[in-house]
Symmetry: C2
Subunit: 413 residues, 2 copies
Amino acid sequence: MNPKAIKGLQCHQCNWVVPAVPFSYTCPKCGKNLDFMYDYEEIGISWSKSDLAGNKEKSIWRYLPLLPVTRAPEKISLRIGGTPLVDFPEIAEKSKIRSFQIKDDSRNPSGSLKDRASELAIQHARELGQDTIVAASTGNAGSSLAALSAYHGVKSVIFAPASAPPAKLTQIMQYGAQLVAVEANYDTAFDLAFEWATKHQKYCRNTGINSILAEGKKTVAIEIAEENNWQVPDHIFVPVGDGCIISGIFKGFFDLLALGWIDAMPALHAVQAEGSAAIVNSLSRGGEVTALVADTIADSISVNLPRDGDKARRAILESGGLGFKVNDTKILRAQKSLSETTGIFAEPAAAAAYAGFLQASKNGILKAGDHVVVLITGTGLKDTPAAQKLLKQFNPISADLGKIEAVLEGNAG
Amino acid sequence: MNPKAIKGLQCHQCNWVVPAVPFSYTCPKCGKNLDFMYDYEEIGISWSKSDLAGNKEKSIWRYLPLLPVTRAPEKISLRIGGTPLVDFPEIAEKSKIRSFQIKDDSRNPSGSLKDRASELAIQHARELGQDTIVAASTGNAGSSLAALSAYHGVKSVIFAPASAPPAKLTQIMQYGAQLVAVEANYDTAFDLAFEWATKHQKYCRNTGINSILAEGKKTVAIEIAEENNWQVPDHIFVPVGDGCIISGIFKGFFDLLALGWIDAMPALHAVQAEGSAAIVNSLSRGGEVTALVADTIADSISVNLPRDGDKARRAILESGGLGFKVNDTKILRAQKSLSETTGIFAEPAAAAAYAGFLQASKNGILKAGDHVVVLITGTGLKDTPAAQKLLKQFNPISADLGKIEAVLEGNAG
């Protein structure tokens, strides 16, 4: 981004504005989360849709004029973003809507959407002269930061609950990051990570309080718009834990509206696990987002106090979206039916978004002309034991054609 | 492909030619594996490099004029292929070569290169009027076929050793495929799958004996050539089990040479696990590929009798490639150092290719002007217990900043 286009960071609550450098994590006045503010006219002077159409870069760095860093990293061929937007006409037909698409962000290098945020955070840290990045994580953000730190050659320190899925902790260590496996939940890990980073003057990639992350995550919205030729969908179903992804998506469409590249904001629907629904609960109560004791199989969206709850509320309310709660059984069933119908193996948190879509479809919320996108944020390969809960145990068969035929008879066409 | 361009299938051993329809799995005369034969002049009439440059399709279907089916499937937005070719100038520098790239095929939908073959096989089966597809698999081919069968709406029956990594068997069941978990090794599962498919007249996606699979796998070679602007690398390191991937890569470059699009064949180096090295052993002995009792942690390349051994030998010898054997310790170390250096978490079989490269680099086989590609065939997320073998067990830390500081002191810059 042209540095002239950055107007500063604005508190989403009290509207206080601070400069982008030195970087502030939260509003110095009221402590709430900030938003990057741009001069869209300045951006529009040197960047147009046709410039973008002629840009062969496939990663998020094709959107550099809309990202709050000075330049792309030296190495970008690992390709963050540019994930498939997959059409499923048969699901659209079954749900009696016009169009159904899945944005499959499990196809990022570390297997989750978080790579978009980590990629931008690493470049941001470097431009601020930092080379150690700290993050708290339920697993995905940490494995993402660990992977991309290895790729870009920076250090990372990841605070995660010791009870996170073993595959995610394995991933973090595999990439050579320093893992701090805290005997506590995510919320405590979050506070400790920020405390340690602040005390030791390290860059902190904690969700929500670092507004660069929403800027990275917003690239998924820009891709959805661009791939649909700037005709935005009517509805997007988003899995919500901390609330930073849905806030980022809102910011992406907000930027595109401000640039005049799209003419509407899609309804952003938040889907939360029933046992971790602080944001959705706040919608029906009409008040603040308050903490609860989270309990769900969908570990990536299991949080007591959402760290970007207020901005998530704003994204839902200002976009005309709704809140959905789905229980663990529905999440696992949606995960299985999604795999069987689409060939996409999503992690439980991501499958929750599909469960929310199924619920909306059943409840008659969707109309015949609607275009729906479901966002799949992470791969099921990161937590196969979760999927196994719903699968029948297989019975090994002895190596005998007759016995095999007996088992297959009637099963395989 | 224009059907006129298909000249038939030729036995790679006795040169006997059979028509492409009805489809033959092996040479009716000598029983060996077949190759698709094309009329390259016919293909070149209606297809040029500049046609391709103007084609916006990102998946393998951009190469339809060089694939032996009549048309692309109805649905292709899940995107098979089009995986990143990642540049690592620092590895090139360290190894004193000109250029080092990783072709990261773990980024396919089911997490492995096998998706290229499954995608083409499903379309081929459909064009032959079949809607049930049978395959034997050590895990990746099966989970790939299961995923893409779900996507395209065909049935699949997967024969796998009951001892395959649980995540791979979970994946197969998750996608709704019929799993036949045989109490036997891959070789026996292979024979049973072919026997059952033949008896029940189902399409068989068994590696090697179905020549369509090499046609699907060859697309990775075409991508490597195209992304390097038709200047092929000097060396490609390929993990080898059954030998079908390296045969497919050879076929890809063979086709491009015949079309006149490239002017050299890269040296194709086969890397096998020391405990499953039937093909590499045959190179040093100078004779036939003979069976052994395979024993390696790299399950995807663990085979007793390689099913595409002869064609793999031809690929290595005719390309001027070499054979490398790497033991399990070296494979796991290479897996770890690859993750730490590149941010790519490869499964052990895929990491073997990187171990082969490291060995070649150490042995002085590579020259200063060389351009090297290492092919990563599958993601490490499919078998995290393998990676865990080399990782230290983490110690959970209590939620206390002082204790955390004591642990981190000296570790994190």
